[in-house]
């Protein structure tokens, strides 16, 4: 097969992903014969709220704090070998991020780097908070009456393609769909139109497979003795090779660990999918029910059969509001009868907090008893007989809008040191600000008419 392909590698699948994972991806991409791209996907549902708060205090910031961690490692090589970077490192401030990229280029002595951004996902730029709160909610908490910190629409791949048309080296976006980071380059290179639904579906599927980085190459997959993966300490990040006909090959960076098999690709394909016949995006509704996955050997897997139907006439918007505080505090009990001591510690904290008027939802876990599988009432822990000896960690947690209450619960756990059961140690605590989110739907036209791509000069 010699049909031309576009090569798209992943440098990160979430904010906090391996800082150097892109280096072998770039080393592999520069040997590929065809247009090459490197994507970074670093946004979760809460990212924008946190970034907006930073931007309020520091108007130059609010782009991803990982921009400085990721890009300097590969920027010079990407510029030299014409590997174009498409990343949602812009977060709440793509313009600020673009300026920072220029600064990094200057610091590294990279000349003539060109950077573009995509604007238009921020609804607060043209809608009132009241109008946003009135939009139909599809999931999440009620936002009526709360101060809205961020409201960003998931925009599609067309603005990303428009930015690439400006002939830039780097495209920074804020809130687009994750798959748009891959579909945008494919639309730009292959000229896929809005009616090429099966092709847009294939590009969206390629994006879905690549967007989580190592999750398709053995990361988040390995289960020793059942699903063994070689070289997890040097996990190779994925590269997609996509043809104009929408044929997808998933492989990975050369000379790295990890693996690409039918099983790794199947797990990632179904990740965060609900109805496999209708994965909704602004570009196309993706149907994966007829997809087939073939292992070609040597960490190469072919994926075909994606089908597309028209996209919905609304865009999904993540709206973020203040969510108060979460306090967590922990204490370890170990050795003989440790579980009984940890249980008593949990009872003491619960009783004291309730008697002193703490009303908010709280939970007392004992880790190493399957706490994450349990519920707030610890039903499973109390229903089972288990060895009393071992190492058990009490974990008290509360969500509250009153920071003093959050601190109070942590202090109650701390006081167990001298006033609780024998042998508690290793106290740890934190209090973190919380963000509540809701997903709402907005008509496409007012958002998309404001979307634009523009080059940012140094």
């Amino acid at each position: 097969m010699t049909e031309p392909r576009i090569y798209i590698g992943s440098g990160a699948g979430f904010a906090g992903d391996r800082l150097d994972a892109a280096v072998p991806v770039v080393a592999t991409l520069k040997e590929c014969d065809g247009p090459r791209y490197l994507i970074y996907e670093v946004m979760g549902e809460r990212t924008l709220a946190i970034a907006q708060r930073i931007k309020m205090r520091h108007p130059d910031r609010g782009y991803s704090p990982y921009l400085d961690a990721y890009l300097p490692k590969i920027l010079a090589d990407c510029k030299k070998h014409n590997i174009r970077i498409v990343a949602n490192l812009g977060n709440a401030n793509p313009l600020g991020g673009a300026k920072r990229v220029h600064q990094i280029a200057a610091e590294l002595g990279i000349e003539n780097l060109r950077v573009a951004i995509v604007n238009g996902d921020d609804l607060l730029g043209f809608m009132s908070a009241a109008d946003i709160a009135a939009l139909p909610t599809i999931e999440g908490v009620g936002i009526d009456g709360k101060e809205i910190v961020a409201a960003n629409a998931y925009i599609g791949a067309r603005p990303v393609a428009a930015a690439l048309k400006l002939d830039v080296d780097v495209v920074l976006v804020g809130r687009t769909t994750d798959a748009a980071l891959v579909l945008g380059p494919l639309i730009h290179e292959f000229g896929w139109g809005e009616d090429d639904l099966d092709l847009l579906a294939a590009g969206t599927l390629a994006g879905h497979l690549l967007e989580c980085g190592g999750q398709v190459t053995g990361g988040y997959f390995c289960d020793p003795g059942f699903k063994d993966v070689p070289g997890m300490d040097e996990l190779g990040f994925p590269i997609g090779e996509i043809s104009a006909a929408g044929d997808i090959i998933i492989t990975k960076a050369a000379k790295t660990g990890g693996m690409v098999t039918t099983a790794t690709v199947t797990e990632q394909m179904l990740y965060e999918v609900h109805d496999p016949a209708a994965y909704l995006t602004p570009d196309v509704t993706l149907d994966i029910t007829d997809v087939t996955i073939d292992d070609l050997g040597n960490d190469r897997v072919r994926v075909c059969g994606a089908r597309g139907t028209p996209p919905p006439d609304t865009l999904k918007v993540t709206v973020s509001a203040d969510g108060g505080w979460m306090a967590e505090s922990e204490l370890i009990y170990a050795g003989p009868n440790a579980l009984a001591r940890a249980e008593l510690a949990a009872d003491i904290v619960k009783t004291r907090c309730r008697q002193r008027g703490v009303q908010d939802n709280m939970r007392l876990d004992i880790t190493a008893t399957g706490a994450v599988f349990d519920n707030d009432q610890s039903q499973r822990r109390q229903g089972e007989n288990r060895p009393l000896d071992g190492e058990f960690r009490l974990r008290a947690v509360i969500r509250t809008f009153d920071k003093a209450t959050a601190q109070y619960v942590n202090d109650e756990v701390l006081s167990l040191f001298c006033s609780g059961p024998a042998g508690g140690g290793g106290y740890r605590c934190n209090i973190t600000g919380q963000v509540n989110t809701a997903s709402v739907l907005v008509p496409r036209e007012p958002v998309e008419s404001r979307c634009n791509a523009e080059e940012v000069l140094p």
Binding site: G140, T266, E267, L270, V291, T292, I293, V397, N436
Partner: protein, 124 residues
Amino acid sequence: MSPFTTVPLHAVAHGRAGDKGNRSNISVIPYNADIFPYLVEQVTEARVMDIFRHKGASACTRYLLPKLPAMNLVIDDALEGGVNSALNQDLHGKTLSFLLLGELTVTVPLDFISPQSRYHSETR
């Protein structure tokens, strides 16, 4: 005809949990495609609900993808409120694929369990 054995789903399938809001999706992918009919018969919406009801799960929808083969389980209200309000240390329910794989049992021909598997010796 191979004798049958009852094992945790983990002995014969793998999967991954994802979250959107207070809804979890868990894929179930057999190691051996020939075992898929047994999973279709036994990994039912009702049996999945039995495992997640204590967390507040209100409904389970099962989607079959026989060409892979795999199934996708979508469990509503399984995440104790999800990242907005859960007190669980695992806010996203990332670990829940292993709750399902560990607690839902299936009765399958012993031939499907490798003699090297810990599940082979446990259940013979």
